[in-house]
């Protein structure tokens, strides 16, 4: 396994009025198998675009992404995705949602039922299997989304603000769950977030992006996810080291936001035209 190689990808969107948006400009990144990587950056810096390219939903206007030495040309079961919300199939029960991938692949029923049971236990939803998903709370739904993704046993899990729609407390619990899953499954995880704290806590590597054109400006190596595997999450987040890093990254993001707003409010697209 060679992980994911992002090789000088650029993405230019052409607007209907003729203007161009450089959502990504020559972005390169190597992600080792088993790494947990968080991606942070001001709104509009191309995070979602990057993730959609990794998932194979978009093809970059230039450059390429390779996963295990294969050029990514479309979505595939080896790269699972967890969306912010609303991507569960509301006409199916929790069980059927989780077993969706194996069922599509024609796996034996008994096998996927057993796997589903196991996953329900891991994400703390034992006994909820027969419920329709729309009866679950937002946090529970995201746990189903995680389980559904894991049931398919992908190499890489891509997450676009998976906890963005949750309240602060549920969010902390879910961060713990993601770390636990990372530890137990050893999967490669790439996670986009708007929360600096979350990015530090869930990234042994933190990628900071800047807009116009979308690019990578920082690539931190961080000890916090590994620390959190052995120590209490709150202690990790309260440690002087964590707080110092948080302030550093926060002021960096602030600076970028200032820059964006500094030249007066621009109308996106018009300035590029």
């Amino acid at each position: 396994m060679t992980g994911i190689i992002i090789d000088k990808i650029s993405m230019v969107f052409t607007l209907p009025d003729g203007g161009d948006v450089h959502a990504l400009n020559k972005v390169s990144l190597n992600i080792e198998p088993g790494q947990i990587v968080s991606v942070l950056g001001p709104s509009g810096c191309g995070k979602t675009t990057l993730l959609n390219i990794l998932a194979g939903f978009l093809s970059p206007t230039d450059g390429e992404v390779r996963h295990n030495n294969q050029t990514v040309t479309g979505p595939g079961a080896e790269r699972g995705m967890v969306f912010q919300q609303g991507a569960l199939f509301e006409w199916l029960t929790v069980n059927d949602n989780i077993q969706f991938g194996p069922k599509m692949a024609g796996k034996p029923k008994a096998e996927s039922v057993a796997k589903c049971e196991e996953l329900l236990n891991i994400v703390g939803l034992a006994g909820f299997g027969e419920k329709p998903v729309y009866q679950l709370s937002g946090g529970m739904q995201q746990r189903v989304a995680l389980a559904r993704c894991l049931a398919n046993d992908p190499d890489v899990i891509l997450m676009d603000e998976p906890l963005g729609a949750l309240d602060a407390l549920t969010r902390e619990k879910m961060q713990g769950l993601i770390l636990k899953l990372w530890k137990e499954t050893g999967k490669t995880i790439i996670l986009i977030t708007h929360s600096v704290e979350e990015a530090l806590f869930l990234g042994e590597r933190l990628i900071v992006m800047a807009p116009r054109p979308g690019r990578i400006v920082e690539d931190f190596s961080l000890p916090f996810p590994r620390q959190a595997l052995t120590t209490n999450a709150r202690d990790v987040k309260a440690s002087p080291e964590f707080v110092a890093k948080r302030e550093e990254v926060l002021s960096m993001i602030w600076e970028m936001e200032e820059e964006i707003m500094g030249g007066g409010i621009e109308v996106r697209g018009l300035s590029d035209a």
């Binding site: 699972g80 995705m81 559904r148």
Partner: protein, 288 residues
């Protein structure tokens, strides 16, 4: 705490007193949910109308030519039930109309749903059918009756063809908007879980479009029910519509009135039936 006399549950049911929830509201005008059912007044108006009918019947205030007496109507119902109308049992008149509606709606759905799906999924299909669908959409089905009679005559095929057309475009548009209402993240999620195009169609797009297809079926049922009665008024020897038309020719106002009541009641039952099916088959509606 202020002492408050709790109104009886009968008074609440009748809508004469506010329920415990509304009672605490200080702002009621403009809050639709604070307007009670007013059931007492519903009962009142029905009783009033019935009494008016009884009184006019007893004293012979309205000529039966314009509006039947209550006794006459009762006798006529018994006669219709026992002897039928013009040698055809009453249930057969009703049954044939209902049958025509179902045949029309189902055939329209059978063609319309795949058509709508193809329009939502392929530019070729969209390009081909869009002008036709958009052109046919605003034409009331009744305006097609003359053409249908020229093409198919006035037999059974003609009526079902008319209802088929009435339902076809409703179902096409419903299925098409069902496809376009699919949230892209669901489709993406399914692809990332390894689903093929056909599996996406069967396991994501179809279930996602079901609520809209069902709404289409309901609308279709309503429109077709209206259309069948009107079509039977024009040309038919069986069916509720033809029954009231022929009754009119014989100046049987009571049969006309009974026919109208039947039309209303059946239309209501169809609507309730469809809502029931919807609750049973798509409990997830509006919960995505």
């Amino acid at each position: 705490m202020r002492e408050q006399k709790t109104p009886s549950s009968l008074a609440i049911w009748l809508g004469l007193a506010d329920n415990s929830f509304t009672r605490q509201k200080t702002v009621k005008f403009g809050d639709e949910s604070a307007v009670s059912s007013g059931r007492f007044y519903s009962i009142l108006i029905v009783i009033l109308l019935l009494s008016a009918w009884i009184i006019t019947s007893v004293f012979g205030l309205i000529k039966p030519f314009y509006w039947p007496t209550i006794g006459g109507t009762g006798d006529r119902i018994i006669k219709l039930l026992s002897e039928g109308f013009r040698n055809v049992p009453l249930w057969e008149h009703v049954g044939i109309s209902v049958y025509r509606v179902f045949a029309g709606v189902l055939s329209g759905a059978l063609i319309g749903i795949p058509l709508g799906f193809s329009m939502g999924l392929s530019s070729v299909a969209r390009g081909l059918f869009d002008p036709i669908v958009e052109f046919m959409r605003p034409i009331p089905p009744l305006a097609l009756i003359p053409l249908i009679i020229l093409w198919f005559g006035i037999d059974e095929t003609a009526k079902i063809a008319l209802l088929f057309l009435a339902s076809l475009f409703i179902m096409t548009i419903a299925a098409r908007s069902g496809v376009s209402s699919v949230r892209i993240s669901k489709v993406h999620a399914a692809y990332s879980l390894g689903a093929s195009k056909l599996q996406i169609l069967r396991h994501v797009i179809l279930p996602n479009a079901l609520p809209e297809i069902f709404t289409g079926l309901r609308t279709s049922m309503g429109v077709c029910w209206g259309t069948v009665v009107a079509a039977e008024l024009v040309a038919a020897d069986k069916g509720v519509g033809s029954m009231i038309m022929i009754a009119k020719n014989f100046l049987q106002t009571d049969t006309v009135v009974i026919g109208i009541i039947i039309i209303g009641v059946i239309g209501y039952i169809i609507e309730m039936f469809m809502r029931f099916l919807e609750r049973v088959f798509i409990p997830w509606k509006g919960k995505g």
